[in-house]
Symmetry: C2
Subunit: 333 residues, 2 copies
């Protein structure tokens, strides 16, 4: 298993990126190629015990920033860690690429410069994986396609199902479509038309799912357009932050509550960890012709380590080949 | 101020409905007409001190259930509390109608049987009012129009702004459109086109708003299509429930945390109250030709009382007349 790690990805690059790569190499003996500014990577590597590890470094000169516009990056920063890393996957010299860098740039470089779509895929989807009651749920699309068509959502269901089975190792994943009500006939026009298409596929399809049902762990794969999916993810994150802040305020408001808050601190920590996505590490860009795992820019070394593990499992599960085969079957020409 | 209260609204009807009406009549001296099964209402009224209150009862025979389909209710249950109550508002015999009953039925009866649209309104919107850091934020649409057009969203902005000013008494309300990113150019096609229309209106328009920004209290009126708005509201509610449940679990997991949890109980209660929508009571169905305030089916008497106060403020603020005037100006023919 040979995995390329973008060393220039996180907001604190290359420190957590390199540390996570070293941890993953120790824990699972993966062969890892770090791509980015060699000098900076070497400085980081010296902080770790890297004997017995299969770690190499490839030097690149262009650096992609979070504020860079995807279209500009795609054309003007061709010696970036993303370009070089994805090219290695494209050429079969590596099994997967992991990055915590600018998502829009990764999407553009994958689609325009390097991997391109899997044959038969209409639109790739950006996914998110969230641990709900300790079980991963994969959402797609969470941002690549703000406007979508029913056929695209139908393909998202196929790709999400394959990823859940082959990479997340969930048996017979329950696939649902995000909707404003669970009864049949609910949903906007897109959801109704996409739902009808997905119902015809050979999936364990549970139909319309509401946010409540998702958070009760009733489903493993949730399909939506990229606009609504993005709103759902961001509302979940903002709500958790808002409620946590409200509780923190109130715990400080009187003496008994303050003492109670101190005693209960380990419980709060555990609750927070149960919502923490760094256990999952990252989520795939599904539909491009190679395994690409995208992590949050704020990822720490543990998130990077787990994302590398994600990438390895996706490669082992032959997610790309299976998507190619299944789409050839399920997509009417 | 004469307000009609649907006594057959809540899940526990008519107990909280009648109790809330009595509380509102005591607190603000409103004249209140209770509509529903007279016998049941009279039984409830006997539990309260109603001397000096201006309370009357109108008997109706049909009862609308939560499971009833709106189209059926509209035709077949014409002697329901909703039909009779809204007719009284339509005929100018009352200033507002408050109900905690089936939302779809209320929408259908308002639109098809009784109040109908305000002249110039393309589509009425269902709104939700949430207290964020103790300030009300009005969201619309949260469910009436799963598919929407840019011009409808532009009218939602006008109506929401008027409600925020005249009923919620917010000076120069900040109006935003729900989007997947705050930069200009973000959003799906609907959001981009609607945003361009809203920017041309004379509003305190802040542009695209993300869920995080909304929950930081950065905006007073949030406009969206009814599908996305519904997903946002439901995700917020489900996330609060999920996080609360996770914390409760973890507080029970060890002895110190349990003690801490007990000590901090008042703080948790206060946090929960800050998220509690019964302080607001209900939210308007905006665009129909009369003040209609819709409450959650699970409303308690305090929520009903506050919804009645909402209704009075909307009537005092002449929300309907102002909407009629402003839409005549802002809508190109």
């Amino acid at each position: 298993m040979r995995i390329i790690v973008d060393a220039m990805g996180t907001d604190a690059r290359p420190t957590p990126d390199v540390a996570g790569a070293v941890m993953a190499a120790h824990e699972w003996q993966y062969e890892i190629v770090l791509v980015g500014r060699k000098e900076a990577i070497d400085t980081e590597l010296k902080k770790h015990d890297t004997r017995k590890l299969r770690l190499t470094v490839i030097n690149t000169t262009d650096e992609i920033l979070m504020a860079d516009r995807p279209s500009v990056v795609s054309k003007e920063k061709q010696d970036s860690s993303m370009h070089i890393g994805m090219k290695l996957v494209k050429n079969g010299e590596a099994d997967a690429f992991v990055t915590a860098g600018n998502t829009g740039a990764a999407y553009a470089i994958a689609m325009l410069n390097t991997l391109r779509r899997i044959s038969g895929v209409k639109r790739p989807a950006l996914s998110g994986i969230f641990p709900i009651d300790r079980q991963p749920i994969i959402f797609l699309d969470i941002g690549a396609n703000a406007d979508a068509r029913p056929e695209w959502l139908s393909q998202f269901a196929v790709m999400g199902n394959i990823y859940a089975k082959n990479a997340l190792r969930i048996t017979a994943p329950r696939v649902g479509i995000l909707s404003n009500g669970e009864e049949e006939g609910k949903g906007n026009q897109l959801v109704q038309e996409a739902g009808a298409l997905i119902a015809q596929l050979s999936l364990n399809y549970v139909g319309n799912v509401e946010p409540r049902y998702i958070l009760q762990g009733g489903v493993d794969v949730v399909v939506s357009d990229g606009f609504t999916g993005n709103i759902l993810i961001k509302t979940f994150e903002a709500s958790v932050r808002y409620l946590t802040g409200t509780i923190r305020d109130e715990l400080r408001a009187d003496v008994f509550s303050s003492i109670g808050g101190l005693l209960a601190k380990p419980a709060f920590k555990r609750a927070r960890r149960r919502l923490d996505t760094s256990e999952v590490g990252g989520a795939p860009l599904l539909g491009v012709d190679g395994v690409v795992i995208i992590c949050h820019g704020s990822s720490d070394e543990r998130a990077i380590k787990n994302a590398i593990h994600q990438a390895a499992r996706a490669a082992e599960g032959q997610v790309i080949d299976v998507i190619r085969q299944e789409l050839a079957i399920s997509t009417p020409v």
